[in-house]
Homo-oligomer: 268 residues x 2
């Protein structure tokens, strides 16, 4: 089966070595595409390079401008290749303009002492959590099955200040899809804006920069398969028009798969 | 007074528009310079650009290769300039090779609703905490006055697995220096490697990527002056040769100044 996700991240190599992609209406957000999909697309531009060494360890994506629905050109360059690590710079461009930039570190992993210090909180199994209701007010929300445990959007947009912005949920692609680094990259951005939760007010927002650290190799992701991930996010600081979010994603066995952070513009 | 820190981040503009800097023996680490100083140097290459818009919001630094003691060339390019935000790519080069890459978002901040959701833990005042003993085993440790509260290096390197890697300390430049974004960038890297704390074993380590989100503008940093910052760090996941660290820095009044994350290579 070719899935929406795979169609959305697809890239076609051009004669000049660049890659040609196209935004996907299936992942549309209010203005332009879902940021997680953009992050997966730019990571895929790195993953598709024939001289890539190892697997992604750290990826930072900067949202320079709102990607327009339509085609984009992706370029990725290895700026430094060491024995077991490689440093990448990548860009998505539209009409010659830089829309998205990214840096990525890829590396050959080795088995070492390991620990998941940040533990998955106790929670009911995903099957015991309420299934999503309705179809969501933007297309991309239909591409994920989210079963919320804690920290839903306020029922009333009554402008009341809440004490914290922690959300916890089970989430997977809809329809289910075997996990890989590109899909996990996108999943790192499924959390609605923390400032909406804190302020119970839907102020305009936009992620400006997002970083993902992968703690799992392809084998561990494949073993996780298409099962639910446990995802947790919270804001740390909100000031001067920008807030940050820190988040973790585990598989059902409690293995930490990714930690992720982002800084988000907000108005008023 | 010209301080070690200011001498260490100094850059001289070259005819081709690039900037010439020099590593500082005052900030030497075991191999090459202290990573926090490198991060401050590459941020300074952005801050020194005459067409820079606003103040730093998010900076990601990638450590591609060990910077050698000696001169380096710094280049910074604005890849996208919007009305109130700007996206930068910067590099430090030695002998034509890329050693360090960075992306930075700068922006004009506006007064908004604000909250420090991640609260500063209760702690004794810095004056009540033990002053550092001895001179430190590498030069850069003498450039910081660290007053540890929790999570010191193990007294015995006895290879015992500890349950967590949380460290808390008061810290400031030594001698004291008024805080600005470059100094805060460097302070975000003062934590010793979390894997040393967890394993009580000094395995080889090296930061590969580090991100700082600034929650304070120049005015708030100036108001903090040369006082101690409260700094807290912990590891989240350790696996396959890489671990991550998440950290926060507050001023004494409990204002969150920066949140920071890094991913670190470790051996065995």
């Amino acid at each position: 089966v070719e899935r929406d996700f795979d169609r959305a991240i697809a890239l076609v190599r051009q004669d000049d070595g660049s890659l040609l992609g196209h935004t996907s209406p299936a992942y549309a957000n209010m203005v332009g595409p879902f940021g997680g999909m953009i992050a997966a697309q730019v990571l895929n531009a790195v993953l598709r390079q024939p001289d890539r060494l190892g697997e992604p360890i750290a990826v930072t994506v900067n949202f320079c401008a709102a990607l327009a629905e339509g085609p984009y050109t992706a370029v990725a360059r290895a700026l430094r290749t060491n024995r077991s690590t490689q440093h990448w710079f990548a860009e998505l461009r539209q009409e010659g303009q830089t829309m998205i930039t990214a840096t990525a570190v890829t590396a050959v992993r080795r088995a070492t002492w390991a620990a998941d210090e940040q533990r998955m909180p106790d929670a009911p199994a995903p099957e015991q959590c309420p299934a999503p209701q309705g179809r969501g007010f933007v297309a991309w929300l239909q591409r994920y099955e989210m079963r919320l445990i804690d920290g839903a959007l306020p029922v009333a947009w009554d402008d009341a200040e809440l004490p914290h912005s922690i959300s916890r949920l089970w989430v997977r692609d809809a329809p289910p899809r075997p996990l890989d680094h590109a899909a996990l990259m996108a999943l790192c951005d499924v959390f609605f804006p923390r400032v909406w939760l804190r302020r119970a007010t839907r102020v305009p927002v936009g992620t400006v920069s997002m970083t993902v650290y992968f703690h799992a190799d392809a084998e561990r992701l494949a073993a996780t398969g298409d099962d639910y991930l446990f995802a947790q996010a919270r804001g740390q600081g909100f000031r001067g028009g920008y807030f940050d979010q820190t988040a973790q994603l585990w598989n059902r066995r409690g293995e930490l798969l990714a930690t992720t952070h982002q800084v988000v513009y907000y108005k008023s």
